[in-house]
Each structure stands twice: as structure tokens, then as C-alpha cells.
């Protein structure tokens, strides 16, 4: 006869067996003294224990702990709110003073640079008037097809602008800290002759066109911006050319024509007089020379080597425009023997004299 196992007997003792199993087990125990004795022993083993109770008042300790926790939460999380409530006015006052301080600091802050004005001479082809105006950075020059103009940037750069030019002065600043001038122009359209008189140590300037970024380093060059690209002819000095699309950069040489289009920079050797647009702009300025105020022009040139910045800024003002007095002009030029560009001006004078003689003869 197979005896009941201990777990079954335990379940039977605890009345946790299924009814059928319980009946079978009870029947077996009636006929089996071993299992019967075992059941008795198990019953005694699992008999309810004497329940014990804690002697000290644990609940009171718990409630005390609970009160402390509650107080701690309240104090931590509402401390900031209570602080704000208590010192509302003081905090508002402090904040107001702080804001006023920041505003004063912002107002009293002066940038460390000064704007450099430009002088623009515009000459119409049809009438004899030459208008002069002082312009600042941000100014956009759009010339009529019939007009020509000379733009002087503080005796550092001279632009000869042919009709139809679209030029914007993006930046024209003198930095007091590093004592350096910075010019930035955007030439969107037209033909120009650009000559710079200052070295790269005292001046940095660049000309942006739709296709290129031009970084001249004390030089003279012709530039023609048209929808098919930017053409540059270098007469003298060095020019860094950068393709605005591909970022390709080259150092341009004199006596070459460079064409910068969207994808490439091309160059070929050419004589200056073989280029029609270069000749055109030179011609238009021969015509303009008749009417330009060369007295002022030369006085501007006399300041070319004066790179002291601020002082020369104030001097470059022109009130009236008069017809040139060539003898007086020649004297002034003779006195300027130290001028590097004296030969060039002599040539200009010579040309003008011949033209005047020719006119007088007529």
C-alpha cells in the first residue's frame, strides 16, 4: 500500500486539499496507522503558534517619524515660495536696479571703431555740372549710363566708376585698437578702375561681386562685372582672387585678364589696349577730366601718404566745385615732390593742357 506523502498530509491537516483528494486521503488514513501517526505529528508541527506581540509602542514611533517627514517636505518644497512671498518687494527692487544697471552699461558702451566717410564726385556727360557728396557705409551708388564718377575712400582707394555701375559701400571703418582701416564693397554691375594708395599694413579692403571676392594688396586694376562673370585686368601689384562658388583662390598676375564665372577662373595674356571696356572707361575719364575739380582732386592726392586715419578723415571735405586752375595746380604738384604718384598726375596734367590748347585753338 502506498503511503501518503508529507505535503498531502500537511494540506489535509490545513484543510486545503480538494474535496475528492481529501476524501481519498481520509479513507487511507483510517486503514493506515503509519499515515495516521504521521498526520498527528504534522498537525502538532503546524499547530497555530502562540501569537507574540511587540512590547514597545511601535505605532507611536511611526507617527512621530511621519510628522517629521511631513514637516521636512513642507519646509523644503515651500521654502522658496515663502521666501519670495516674504521678500517680494525687496526682490522686485533688486531686479529693477539690476535691469537699470544693464541698460546703463549697454548705453555707455561705445564700439571701438569709427565710420570713415567717402567722397563721391558725379559728372554728367550732357551738362558741365560736377556734384560732390559725402557718403557713408551702407550707401549704394547706382550711376546712370550717361554719368561717370570718382569715389574716394579717405585717400586710400580711388574708384573710377563708369556709367551703369552698381556699387554698395558695405563696410568703411577705422579700428582704433589695431589702427587699421577696413573697407568692404559690393560691386553688382558695371565697369570700374580701382587704385589703392595705402599698404596692406594700414588698410584691408575687399570687393565682392556675384562671382568673386577680390582682395587687392596695394594695386591698380580694372574690373568689369556683367551677368556672364567678373573680368579683372591687373595693371600693377598683387590681387587675390577667390571664386565665390567654388572657393578656389589664386594670386592674379599683372598683364593678364582673369574671368571668374560660376565654376572656374580662367586667364590669358592680353595687352591693356586690346580690351575695349578698359579703353572705354579710360576714354570716359578723359572726357570727365575737362570738368573735374582737379584742385580738390590733387589736394586729395596730397593726403594719400598721410595714413594717420582720424585727421585725414576730417580734411576730406569739399564744399564747392569749380573749374580747374591748371597753373595753380601745377605749382601744387611741383611742391609735392615726395608724392609717389607725381608722375601719373603730371601725365594727367599734360593731357589736360593739350586738350585745353586744342579747345582754345578751335
Amino acid at each position: 500500500m502506498k503511503h501518503l506523502d508529507e505535503l498531502t498530509l500537511m494540506a489535509l491537516a490545513q484543510n486545503s486539499l480538494h474535496e475528492d483528494d481529501a476524501n481519498k486521503a481520509t479513507l487511507h488514513i483510517k486503514n493506515c496507522s503509519i499515515c495516521s501517526k504521521k498526520l498527528q505529528l504534522i498537525q502538532a508541527t503546524i499547530a497555530p503558534q502562540k501569537p507574540v506581540e511587540p512590547s514597545r509602542d511601535i505605532l507611536s514611533s511611526l507617527l512621530e517619524y511621519y510628522s517629521k517627514t511631513e514637516l521636512r517636505n513642507e519646509s523644503i518644497l515651500n521654502a522658496i515660495y515663502r521666501f519670495i512671498q516674504a521678500y517680494k518687494r525687496s526682490l522686485a527692487f533688486s531686479a529693477a536696479i539690476l535691469i537699470i544697471g544693464i541698460v546703463i552699461a549697454l548705453i555707455s558702451f561705445k564700439p571701438d571703431y569709427k565710420s570713415i566717410p567717402h567722397i563721391l564726385y558725379i559728372a554728367g556727360k550732357t551738362n558741365n555740372n560736377v556734384t560732390t557728396q559725402t557718403i557713408n557705409e551702407g550707401y549704394r551708388i547706382i550711376l546712370n549710363e550717361a554719368d561717370s564718377a570718382i569715389l574716394m575712400a579717405n585717400n586710400d582707394i580711388k574708384f573710377r566708376l563708369a556709367g551703369g555701375v552698381d556699387l554698395t559701400i558695405e563696410k568703411s571703418q577705422y579700428n582704433r585698437t589695431i589702427e587699421k582701416k577696413k573697407f568692404q564693397y559690393i560691386l553688382t554691375n558695371g565697369i570700374a578702375n580701382i587704385k589703392s594708395y595705402s599698404t596692406h599694413d594700414t588698410m584691408h579692403y575687399e570687393i565682392k561681386t556675384p562671382d568673386a571676392v577680390i582682395l587687392p594688396l596695394g594695386t591698380e586694376f580694372y574690373i568689369n562685372v556683367s551677368p556672364d562673370g567678373t573680368h579683372i585686368y591687373i595693371v600693377e601689384g598683387n590681387v587675390m582672387l577667390k571664386n565665390a562658388t567654388t572657393s578656389e583662390t589664386i594670386e592674379a598676375e599683372t598683364g593678364k585678364l582673369y574671368t571668374i564665372s560660376k565654376n572656374e577662373i580662367t586667364s590669358f595674356d592680353v595687352e591693356k589696349y586690346a580690351l575695349q571696356w578698359v579703353n572705354d572707361i579710360d576714354m570716359s575719364f578723359e572726357h570727365l577730366s575737362d570738368r573735374m575739380d582737379l584742385g580738390e582732386y590733387s589736394s586729395l592726392n596730397s593726403n594719400i601718404n598721410d595714413n594717420s586715419g582720424k585727421e585725414s578723415l576730417q580734411e576730406s571735405r569739399i564744399e564747392d566745385v569749380t573749374m580747374p586752375d591748371i597753373d595753380k595746380e601745377t605749382k601744387i604738384l611741383k611742391n609735392k615732390n615726395d608724392n609717389k604718384d607725381i608722375k601719373e598726375l603730371h601725365n594727367d596734367m599734360h593731357q589736360l593742357k593739350q586738350e585745353l590748347k586744342h579747345k582754345q585753338g578751335k
Binding site: L41, A47, P48, I58, L62, N73, E74, N78
Partner: protein, 189 residues
């Protein structure tokens, strides 16, 4: 992560909402303290330890209620599990203990459950036999004996499989019965 003042206040309000109430603590303690205290007492074999662990169990409940919402339907199982883990930790720290014989003296004198001297003798021997078992087997036997939990309930409570519960219970029972036989109780019954 930083909170602004309003968020902190809202958090504080929610925090207080979540936290178990004082009344709830009193109710839960009054309902469950006896069985949990007995469970810890039989498991650890030390009366004073049982008191400490009982208090720590309810403190854990208060702290836990700060972090999450307590489900009152399953709080009993949570209390048992906490008490069990704390007891096991205590037993691991104090591996040597056969204090039950001493702590028996702490039992209340006005006990009226069973005056049968033989049954008392058997239970004393059962307690001695229990102390020689591993903590899990002891825990299973106590839960089965005092609470009449099913194997499934014990398995859930102790995070073990039902098969393990059955196996451990079988071995615990065999161990106790053989201990009693050695003490000569078989013949006397």
C-alpha cells in the same frame, strides 16, 4: 534639470497628495502588525530584532509612498516582501544565531491558545529545527503554517517559482519531522 518655483510648489502639492495619510498608516498598522511581527519573529528568531524590523518595514512604506502611489489592494504583500527582505538582510549579517531558545522567554505569559505541554514541546522543537533551515525554506514554512498561503501566493511574495516553493516546503517538512523523530516524539504520539 531645474524647476521653477511654481513647478516646485505643484510638485510639493502632488507630493503631499501621493504620500500615504496618517490615518492610513494607523489603519494599516493596526490591521497587519500582528501577523507581520510574528512572521519576522519566527523568521529571525529574535524578539527585539522583530520589533526593529517591524518598525523599519512601516517606515519603508512611508518613504515608498513619497515616490509612488501605494496600491492599497496589494499593500499587504508589499509589507510582507519588505519585512522578508529586511529579515533576510539581518540574517545574512548575523549568520550565527540560535537565539530562539532564549527569546522564547519573552513570550507573553498570559497565553491561552494551547496549554497542552506536549504540543508546546513539539513547537519548541519545531522552532529549533527551523533555525537549522535556510532562510527561504524557513520563510516558506512559516508563511504556510501561520498564514496558510497557497504555493502560488508564496511564490509571488518571495519572487521565486512555485516549483521551488513546493520543493523547499517538502524538504523543510522532512527536516522537521526527522528532527522530531530524533527527539523521540514519534513514539509518544
Amino acid at each position: 534639470m531645474q524647476y521653477n518655483t511654481i513647478q516646485l510648489i505643484e510638485f510639493g502639492q502632488n507630493f503631499k497628495k501621493n504620500m500615504i495619510s496618517r490615518e492610513e498608516i494607523i489603519r494599516l498598522y493596526s490591521t497587519h502588525y500582528k501577523e507581520i511581527f510574528n512572521y519576522i519573529y519566527h523568521l529571525t528568531g529574535s524578539y527585539e530584532t522583530a520589533e526593529d524590523i517591524l518598525q523599519e518595514t512601516f517606515i519603508n512604506l512611508i518613504e515608498y509612498s513619497k515616490k509612488t502611489i501605494i496600491n492599497l489592494d496589494t499593500v499587504k504583500s508589499l509589507l510582507y516582501r519588505t519585512a522578508h527582505n529586511l529579515s533576510i538582510n539581518y540574517l545574512k549579517k548575523n549568520e550565527k544565531f540560535d537565539k530562539l531558545d532564549d527569546t522564547i522567554n519573552y513570550l507573553p505569559a498570559n497565553n491561552t491558545v494551547d496549554d497542552d505541554i506536549l504540543i508546546q514541546e513539539i513547537q519548541k522543537e519545531v522552532s529549533n529545527a527551523l533555525q537549522k533551515l535556510d532562510a527561504i525554506s524557513r520563510s516558506i514554512f512559516i508563511l504556510k503554517r501561520d498564514n496558510n498561503y497557497t504555493n502560488e501566493e508564496i511564490a509571488k511574495l518571495l519572487h521565486i517559482s512555485e516549483r521551488t516553493v513546493r520543493r523547499k516546503l517538502q524538504s523543510a517538512l522532512s527536516h522537521i519531522l526527522s528532527h522530531l523523530k530524533n527527539k523521540g516524539f514519534k513514539e509518544n504520539l
